[in-house]
Symmetry: C2
Subunit: 424 residues, 2 copies
């Protein structure tokens, strides 16, 4: 079977002056990889007619699928739609379905009174020869074109808005299902596990023999992210059932190497694992956060239905709040400092007591860039997790920037909490 190649063209001057970091391409690449489409090239060009046109020509010589994102907003700097008309030899026509959706969004969702502006109505204009892809979350529809490339091979062009959540909805709900109908994909199966508490090179050391003995059609990818390492095993072949059997066998073998660093044999974030554990035990949780500043609570509450087990948080950024709301001792603060084992223990106790939950987790640390000292440099973090009977603690030393230190502290706090809940 021939490899199915895609090119991603992102449009927008903001990408070329470095104002925007392109996260859309990574999302599309991940989703395409999952179904067996190889992203061969990614190209970013500015809001310039000739540059966009040339990119379309060039990529259609390289890939059977061309995804174009950006350049579809309602403002005047957008030139993509007229260009698509010219490129595909079509006139712009008003699409009644899209217009109804634009009206629905403006009147029912955005609650804007009065008639639509001309430029909003123009959002419903599409080249007559495209298939309109419904954008449930925004006014600019996706557009699907088919055209032969210069070698006479059929090529699919899909134009999508650049707003990330709109683009994501369209890729998942419209583009991938249609591509699966259009092309015969190889059988491709992924299984993902993830580990915590060990760096990428340590995990790679453990899995060295395993990886060297993998057959050619099975690949292992390391995806490190914030204190965890995702391990993705991918197999390709012609027959889905066979490919699944192969992956299952190697996935089981891989897990046996990982032992206690294994967090999950599914691709799910830490906050969902915590949620499942708590629901399974019918227990409740609260957090007490100093250095993480509410980020643990944010992660937990991104999970739908988290109000079943999550009661709340005290972000005790100042010592005054630590004492006043969490009953932390002034004497301990003076003697040991806010970043200490004793303080995070007291924060857990105070939270269990005041917020009346079964479990609590607490953090206190120095996130930088300022506030460090020789004994407690930037990146020093104490974490505690516990219940009424027992509290465990762990000290960490991170050495990154503020943003990354916050994220690492939160993930490691959730992991310590996970370990505690499993045992208690």
């Amino acid at each position: 079977m021939n490899q199915l190649n895609a090119s991603i063209i992102t449009i927008g001057d903001e990408l070329l002056i470095g104002q925007t970091i392109d996260t859309n391409s990574a999302f599309i690449a991940q989703e395409f990889n999952d179904v067996g489409i190889w992203v061969k090239r990614r190209v970013a060009v500015g809001d310039n007619f000739e540059d966009i046109w040339n990119a379309l020509d060039e990529e259609s010589g390289q890939s059977q699928i061309i995804i174009i994102t950006g350049g579809l907003g309602p403002t005047a700097d957008d030139i993509t739609k007229p260009l698509l008309c010219k490129y595909f030899g079509a006139e712009l026509v008003l699409n009644e379905e899209v217009l109804k959706h634009v009206e629905y969004l403006f009147h029912q969702v955005f609650r804007r009174p009065g008639p639509l502006l001309k430029r909003n109505i123009m959002q419903a204009e599409v080249p007559e020869n495209c298939t309109v892809l419904h954008n449930a979350l925004g006014t600019a529809p996706g557009m699907w074109f088919e055209k032969d490339n210069q070698k006479g091979e059929k090529t699919i062009f899909v134009s999508l808005p650049g707003v990330p959540h709109e683009m994501k909805g369209l890729i998942t709900n419209e583009v991938i299902p249609r591509l699966l109908q259009e092309f015969t994909m190889p059988a491709i199966v992924h299984r993902t596990a993830f580990t915590a508490g060990m760096g990428e090179s340590g995990v790679a050391e453990i899995l060295q023999d395993f990886e060297n003995n993998l057959p050619e059609n099975v690949k292992l990818a390391y995806l490190p992210s914030y204190g965890m390492v995702k391990l993705r095993l991918t197999a390709r072949g012609e027959n889905k059932a066979e490919v699944e059997a192969v992956v299952s066998r190697y996935f089981d073998e891989m897990q046996s190497y990982l032992k206690d660093i294994l967090v999950s044999n599914q691709d799910e974030p830490m906050e969902e694992i915590i949620g499942k554990l708590l629901k399974g035990k019918n227990k409740t949780l609260a957090t007490a956060e100093s250095c993480t500043g509410g980020y643990i609570a944010h992660l937990i509450t991104t999970v739908p239905g988290s109000s079943q087990y999550f009661k709340g948080t005290v972000v005790a950024y100042s010592n005054e709040i630590k004492m006043k709301i969490l009953d932390v001792s002034e004497q301990t603060l003076t003697e040991k400092g806010a970043v200490s084992e004793e303080i995070v223990q007291q924060m857990v106790k105070g939270t269990l007591d005041r917020l009346n939950t079964d479990y609590a987790v607490a953090t206190s640390g120095i996130m930088g860039p300022d506030g460090g000292s020789i004994e407690k440099p930037v990146g020093t973090v104490w974490i505690a997790a516990g219940n009424k009977n027992k509290i465990i603690t762990k000290k960490f030393h991170f050495r990154f920037d503020r943003q990354r230190n916050i994220q690492l502290s939160a993930i490691n706090a959730l992991n310590l909490l996970r370990i505690f809940i499993l045992d208690n």
Copy 2:
């Protein structure tokens, strides 16, 4: 003066399977823009000889400067250096200066005992006809090549390692100073403002006449993000002082159209604006979060030094916490429900009282996907901001997914707080 164009080629399979988000290109683009080099195209290709070769050929037809990042690490799958030798018709030679630096790094910095490994010594091999650029932070040097493109025009090719901090050091300390010697740059000036409380098309409507009357060398770009719209004005010319004067004049004019939707005339996030306002007034803040689940606190505490004005948060996810920690009335909860104007007012009062701050902001809403009703559908959010003397409130209706509803609620809460602080 002709426009000086650059292309950025990033190399690595990890970019094409979506494993890595390309932040290098954004950095290079920003630095180049600051000195007047226009990044015309960014291309990502995999670790594949033919794809890299074709990208070099294609980009050298488009730009006078080609920056290549990635593909220079010590592992075996790297093919960039042999390819560069072939592309520029050169042999690999061991560079003694680079070898000394690699030895220094291994022995003095990384503190590795024993002799260098072969693959580390190979890091010091470079094509004989390149100018070596010193990489103070890593073992792989930058390499500067000059070659005529297919039209016979001189083109600069610079190959840099993909590790972000090494690449950044090389761009700043080596590449840009050399390019400034090599080329006469145009003057280019950007000014950014941002607005809140109005969608992109509404802002564009307000600025329609302004935009239509801009001279050819001044451009306006709209960059919408989470309830805000960034407006970037860019001008180019020969003389820096003249260009700055032009931009300033139009930037002032633009601001006069924006009036009360203008949030800032600088490119800064909402949480930094709040921080500056509070520091300027020497006042303190706490938040009381139900539906935002700590996300407002997280945004505020990403700002270094926020402990100066931010004391803490109560995430009152359950009604029990709302009553127990924030003194919200059980009767009001029963009569009005948790998502109501009265409750967010009481949350602000309780926070000011219990956390003892000058200002407080509170949120309560239904983020979805479940929990909505006919009177209070998913996306209904009440926000209040106030001090001891006055509390203002606002009701919002979002209709997106959970993650986006949380982000929109947080940004709009910060904006309501900003407006309150300005007036009180």
